[in-house]
Amino acid sequence: MAALETSPGPNLRSRSAALGGVVPPIWLLLVAGAAGLLVGSLRSSVFAQLTVQGLALGAVYGSLALALVLVYRATRVVNFAQGELAMATTYVAWQLIQWGLSYWEAFFATLAIAFVLGTVLEVVLVRPVQHRSVIAAVIVTVGLFILVDGIVNWIWGAEFKFMPSPFGTKIYHVGGVSIARLYPGMLAVVAISVVLVWALFRFTKLGLGMRAAAFRPAESALVGVRVDWMLAIGWGLATVLGAVAGLMAEPSQLLLEPTLMQPILVYAFAAAVLGGLDSPGGAVVGGLVIGVSLNLIVQYVPSITSELQAPFAFAVLVAVLLLKPSGLFGHREVRRV
């Protein structure tokens, strides 16, 4: 703290540079939005329900968006298979439950499997083409999308599967508002996962190595960071976050099918781009914004029906790319003095 007090100038400067120099307006906007949601929720119980539900869904989008951002930051690759991997790992959880594990045993076992799966895919599929060109790696992820989809259909078939509800069927009554326990449950699980991943990156040596390897692979190797491992672990972590998204998306859809994550991938892309493709915090905020606004718009804007949710998210994506390509929290290129 002493350092902060003795040199406030440079600290403030570095902070605003890191956030693109647009911090105050965006935070004002977000605070205003949150206040609007609160006021609306106090006035209307339907609004309150839609807001809570939207936040829970938004957390799922944010989790998948964060997975996209982690991979993008580490390797500049946009992983189009992120949603399908999330779907596949959810099938793994379903299978484990069929074999007799309880929901939460299956949940944690699936996260471990997801980590191994992501790591292995990076080593086997992405690494060999990565050094040739980024676009080659991106095309590999598109192929992986189709491959994973095919494998899931081949193993488990296309018919619906049902999983037990992770949070029971309890309904909370707060004031005049009824809220299924599912939604705060989804929010809590995603929040815990995101905080754990953040803490890993922020406070551990491994996390520091991963950040260094993502920013500057050559210099990282010079100080002894095993860059290849860091990138593989990054893929593993992203796949874990995807699995969390898939597992939390499933109860909100009430069933499991191979197309579970396809619309959610579009929302996650919109969230990641809205937040700034290289900003982890932005991805989560973007997810929440997209989740809530999609839910409210369908209810309150008559011309937008639920069929138009995905096109709406796509419109957001295009608008951000046109108007502010770095997103709300994305880095502008760091100054090299």
Binding site: N11, A18, A218, S220, A221, L222, V225, R336
Partner: protein, 235 residues
């Protein structure tokens, strides 16, 4: 005295371009050795072939152990710190995180190393939370050097530490390098355009020309050599 680092007939290339045509040199444990030569002679590539950041062939041994097949992280783990040309700082990370990365291969507490580095560069301690990218050029160069010290390397590879620095800072950096060498026996292989400074700090030197060793000797011998005086010392 034994050689800590030994290069024998080392070749290196960038794609089709040969940068080193069979370099042989040795660095005694506890000495400071300078690599001199004109631009494009292969000075930087020599350092890079040691740290494994360029494709190389030939024999390179560190502390008696062949390292010519190791990647840069493997070489770093053996106790070699390479401060690359320009700034090797992580501009997106804080000063403290940069220093922490310097000791990435060390286990346990690095507080003693940090204390030591802060005793040389007290301002680093005051600004440990500052983003490294917002430091001035000279400060970043110092940070890169400090990061290498935190590593407590057996061998320090220094590439053009004077590049873009005020003369006063350059002299200070060389003084500190020399001090670490004398006090702690740090072995240094330094590439430097400023031959005058380099030979002052070094025990011995090699002059490279077109990817080969043109001349070698102790600093005194090199200073006395007519061609070195004419080409690099300017008198």
């Amino acid at each position: 005295m034994t050689a800590l680092l030994e290069l024998e007939d080392v070749e290196a290339r960038y794609g089709p371009v040969h940068a080193l045509h069979g370099i042989s040199l040795s660095v005694e444990e506890g000495s400071v050795v300078a690599v001199l030569g004109p631009n494009g002679a292969g000075k930087t590539t020599t350092l890079r072939s040691v740290s494994g950041t360029v494709r190389r062939s030939g024999r390179i041994a560190f502390a008696g152990r062949p390292i010519d097949r190791l990647g840069p992280d493997g070489v770093a783990r053996l106790g070699v710190a390479h401060v690359p040309e320009g700034r090797g700082t992580f501009s997106e990370l804080t000063v403290w995180e940069n220093l922490r990365l310097g000791a990435y291969t060390r286990r346990g507490s690095i507080d003693p190393e940090l204390e030591r580095v802060f005793s040389y560069f007290p301002w680093l301690s005051e600004r440990r939370k500052q983003q490294a990218g917002t430091l001035s050029g000279g400060e970043q160069q110092t940070l890169a050097l400090a990061r290498a010290f935190v590593h407590r390397p057996r061998l320090l590879l220094l590439d053009e530490p004077s590049l873009g620095l005020a003369p006063v800072l350059v002299a200070e950096l060389f003084r500190i390098v020399r001090e670490l060498n004398e006090r702690e026996g740090l072995t240094v292989l330094v590439v430097e355009q400023n031959a005058h400074l380099a030979l002052q700090a070094a025990d011995a030197g090699y002059v490279l020309e077109a990817g080969q060793v043109a001349l070698s000797g102790t600093s005194d011998e090199l200073r006395a050599d007519d061609s070195v005086r004419r080409s690099y010392l300017g008198y």
